[in-house]
């Protein structure tokens, strides 16, 4: 008994000494779209139906356990059949199920059927980040796990708490998805490699991203704010490190954001026509490599034997540039295509791979990428 007490108090002490961020969320949250509210209502309805059935069934069971025990002198009855009772407890559950199926069907049809969207965003899962394209606005960018989280995965608990306070450990990205409030957004969801799943709980939106196929889903967020989610289909070793952050902003702020993104793209295109120095390419290439390539080939270029090839001493990185350009732009086997990166990014990362890790390949310029596409 004393041991039990010591253990319990140690356990309680451990729990209470933990982070001030301690959260004991018990239930689903309502979210910020009408659909997510409908889902929440359905969830609560089914939950309470289960509670009610549980009270009746477990009530009978525990009453029997307490009242009909041999040690209290209970004598066993001998009844063992009743067609009436069997019909009742087959029929009543069917009625309850029908009552649940009606609102569930209505919500399901609301979720799946969309007549007209105000705008479209294409979401592409790429191991292990999200690529966002706004086809009408001409905006494209990739969204990676924020470096601040990456740095503390193997850090101390205090490091992680500090990062968590500034947005969320493993729930922050380098570039957020930005969408306007009160707007019906159609999401076209697909993948470049394996199956991913794009999930924003606050939108009540979770949809598989299947390679080679496009799924659609929609959301109409009603409240301005920042909403977080993450990949919800096992996609390999980076599956736990593929967060989603959506900023829902006012329509005016959204228009501003679109303008700034378009200006950035013009500047990016201009830089691709220039000839870069090797030092500039390698410096930019390192950033691109760490964001896009290090997940598989590792930051130090060692790869994972038998799964992901090493950069160090790589035949590709020391061989002809044309082969490597084709590999990075179009992908091959387990290596995905990186054609969504800009010409200068691709030139930089290839140059970095060819001139670092002890490799001795040639320098690649953005213009080489343009002509290789």
């Amino acid at each position: 008994m004393k041991l039990l007490f010591t253990l319990t108090s140690a356990f309680v002490a451990l729990l209470s000494s933990k982070s001030v961020l301690a959260e004991y969320t018990l239930n689903m949250t309502k979210g910020v779209t009408d659909i997510s509210n409908d889902i929440w209502n359905l969830h609560m309805m089914v939950f309470w139906v289960c509670v009610a059935i549980g009270v009746v069934v477990f009530g009978a069971m525990f009453y029997s356990i307490i009242a009909h025990r041999k040690s209290k002198g209970a004598k066993a009855a001998h009844f063992h059949e009743s067609t009436t009772v069997e019909f009742l407890w087959t029929g009543i559950p069917i009625l309850i199920l029908i009552a649940m199926a009606i609102p569930a069907s209505k919500t399901l049809i609301d979720i799946e059927v969309l007549d007209k969207a105000d705008m479209t965003i294409k979401v592409t899962g790429v191991r292990w980040k999200w690529q966002y394209d706004y086809p009408e606005e001409g905006i494209s960018f990739a969204s990676n796990l924020a470096q601040s989280s990456m740095d503390v995965i193997k850090g101390t608990p205090e490091d992680r708490e500090a990062v968590h306070k500034e947005g969320g450990y493993l729930r922050e990205v380098d570039k957020r998805l930005v969408v306007p409030v009160d707007t019906t957004i159609r999401f076209l969801i697909t993948s470049n490699d394996v199956i991913h799943n794009w999930w924003v709980p606050a939108f009540g939106l979770k949809q598989d991203a299947n390679p080679g196929f496009i799924n659609d889903a929609w959301a109409k967020p009603n409240i301005i704010g920042t909403y977080r989610g993450q990949c919800a289909e096992l996609c390999g070793k980076g599956h736990g490190f593929m967060p989603i952050v959506v900023d829902v902003v006012s329509k005016a702020d959204y228009a501003e954001w679109v303008k700034s993104m378009q200006a950035e793209k013009v500047a990016e295109l201009a830089s691709a026509t220039q000839v870069w120095t090797e030092a500039d390419l390698v410096a930019k290439g390192e950033t691109v490599y760490n964001a896009n390539c290090s997940g598989c080939h590792q930051k130090d270029g060692t790869g994972i034997p038998g799964v992901f090839p090493a950069m160090i001493g790589s035949e590709v990185a020391n061989g002809p540039a044309a082969y490597q350009l084709n590999l990075v732009i179009n992908g091959m086997g387990g290596m995905p295509s990186f054609k969504m990166l800009s010409d200068s990014d691709i030139a930089a990362v290839i140059t970095y791979e060819r001139r670092s890790f002890g490799n001795n390949g040639s320098v690649v310029q953005p213009s080489d990428v343009t002509s290789a596409r």
Binding site: L21, N27, T29, H80, E86, W89, E233, G306, V307
Partner: protein
């Protein structure tokens, strides 16, 4: 009495062979049942150790022990070993031990095939486990091995995994054929189908599920094999295939599979509750029909695992309705168990404790299953810890609880000795509390938005993960005590009566304890069968 005839038969010296070869060459259903049970138990301990690794990594946020790739290997192999190595072989072991005794047959119908279907298993298990030591590591794509993660993007060891799955499938199909042949051809001539005890019924129906489902799994892994090695593109959109088709094929196997792992447990519970309620089983025939209905429905609900793959809305509506229907026959079973207890004269020996905990906790797993079946709500539950909590409630406190209940219930018959009752009760309460500390908080984690199969998580999930891990370590330790209780019973147990539970009924209890090596060489008569019926 058949038992006296059996004793006379033994006098002729037809006992087991001496030495290790006895176990290699045996065609005796009792020996093979024992082999299956020990194999399953060894796999349970290995799979459980992997789970300890998973929970140790999840004890705190951050990566402390394993790299993410290895973590994925742990979750994948934990699932595969528990499903194919522990739960399924344990039920086949129980079937081997019990079905011939329950139907008054001298042995299984196909004893040599029986030997073979067991001896495939250790090799299949060894091949599966050996992948941990291969370059690139073990399979890391989850026990559901969705393409293309398991084809284009998988480690080389995947081909060994495919071979192991094929072997396990052969073993299961042969086991199922044997059980069907035994039940239909070997049962005592005077036993009618509706005389059969429920464990026999549930296993007969399960066998048909196995024969229907396992070849589909074999087809899925064969397509994987050719996609990986021979340039086909069944699951590769670039070659005209479809990764979602893999999921359809997998779950067409996978959903019957989950009933394969629970129906025999339903049978076990239907034996134990009447014994300790001292009252006949309520609604025997409706139990049989409910089992058959569940088996039928299990083939037409598979895509409820795939609500988010982009199915048309008509498909989603159909699969939602069909899935909700399963609640009806499952409910009938629970209601019948409660009605069996009602106005009985209950006592609470260890098997009864496990059976009652089964009814309570399996029903909780059934409730979360109903919630998951509501397609719109599944959007929020899918692939979160809510699902993890759900299937551990039905598989651990369902299937495994049924197996442990069966072991305590029939151990005195198998060994002729009684286990240590106070220690077994202590073990029960330990396991019961720790399993709930482990899995109940996972419901909250899922609802708060924690996806499954992640090695590290955001800090808002830290507290419940910590509690869950502490529960898991405690639950894991309880199996060492279980090992001790069983070994202690075999070595030092006090001799048990032929009928150790005062109102147990069933042909197996008419046999002497310790049980003879060969039994029922003379089939029981109709009068004996009716006298031992649990439902009249």
């Amino acid at each position: 009495m058949s038992s006296t005839t059996t004793a006379a038969y033994d006098d002729h010296g037809h006992g087991p062979e001496k030495g290790l070869l006895r176990w290699v060459k045996t065609t005796n259903h009792k020996d093979i049942g024992t082999l299956y049970m020990w194999f399953a138990f060894a796999m349970l301990l290995i799979g459980g150790s992997l789970a300890m690794g998973i929970r140790a990594e999840l004890l705190q946020p951050g990566l402390q022990l394993f790299e993410p790739q290895f973590y994925n290997q742990l979750t994948t192999m934990h699932g595969l070993i528990m499903v194919f190595g522990a739960i399924m072989p344990a039920f086949v072991g129980l079937a081997n031990w019990l079905i011939p005794l329950m139907v008054g047959a001298p042995d299984m119908a196909l004893p040599r095939m029986n030997n073979w279907s067991f001896w495939i298993l250790p090799f299949a298990g060894a091949i599966l486990l050996s992948t941990f030591f291969m370059e690139g590591g073990a399979p890391a794509f989850g026990w559901t091995f969705y393409a293309p993660l398991s084809t284009t993007f998988a480690p080389d060891s995947t081909d060994f995994f495919i071979f192991a799955i094929h072997l396990l499938g052969f073993s299961s199909i042969m086991g199922a054929i044997n059980i069907i042949a035994t039940v239909l051809n070997m049962k005592a001539p005077e036993m009618r189908l509706m005389d059969m005890p429920l464990f026999v019924w549930t296993w007969l129906i399960t066998s048909f599920l196995l024969i229907g489902a396992m070849p589909v799994l074999a087809g899925a892994v064969t397509m994987m094999l050719t996609d990986r090695n021979f340039g086909t593109a069944f699951f590769d959109a670039a070659g005209g295939g479809d990764p979602v088709m893999f999921q359809h094929i997998f779950w067409f196997f996978g959903h019957p599979e989950v009933y394969i792992m629970i129906l025999p447990a339903f049978g076990i519970i239907s034996h134990i509750i009447p014994t300790f309620a001292r009252k006949p089983l309520f609604g025997y025939s409706s139990m049989v029909y409910a089992t058959a209905s569940i088996a039928f429905l299990s083939y037409i609900v598979w895509a409820h695992h795939m609500f988010l793959t982009g199915m048309p809305v008509a498909g989603e509506l159909y699969f939602m309705y069909a899935t909700m229907l399963i609640a009806v026959p499952t409910g009938v079973k629970v209601f019948n168990w409660v009605a069996t207890m009602w106005k009985g004269s209950l006592s609470f020996e260890t098997p009864m404790l496990w059976a009652l905990a089964f009814v309570f906790l399996f029903t909780i797993g059934g409730f979360s299953g109903l919630m998951l079946g509501i397609a719109p709500a599944d959007i929020q539950y899918h692939d979160t810890y809510f699902v993890v909590a759900h299937f551990h409630y039905v598989l651990v406190t369902g299937a495994l609880w049924g197996i442990i209940a069966a072991v305590f219930y029939w151990l005195p018959k198998w060994t002729g000795k009684m286990y240590n009752e106070p220690l077994a009760k202590f073990h029960f309460w330990w396991a019961l509390i720790s399993v709930n500390v482990t899995f109940f908080p996972q419901h909250f984690l899922g609802l708060a938005g924690m996806p499954r199969r992640i090695p590290d998580y955001s800090l808002q999930f830290a507290d419940f993960n910590f509690i869950s891990s502490i529960g898991a370590f405690s639950f894991g330790l309880s199996f060492l005590l279980l090992t001790y209780i069983v070994v202690d019973c075999i070595r030092n147990g006090k001799p048990a009566d032929a009928r150790p539970w005062e109102s147990a009924k069933g042909l197996e209890w008419t046999l002497a304890s310790p049980i003879a090596y060969h039994t029922f060489d003379v089939p029981p008569t109709r009068a004996e069968i009716l006298a031992e019926s649990q439902h009249s």
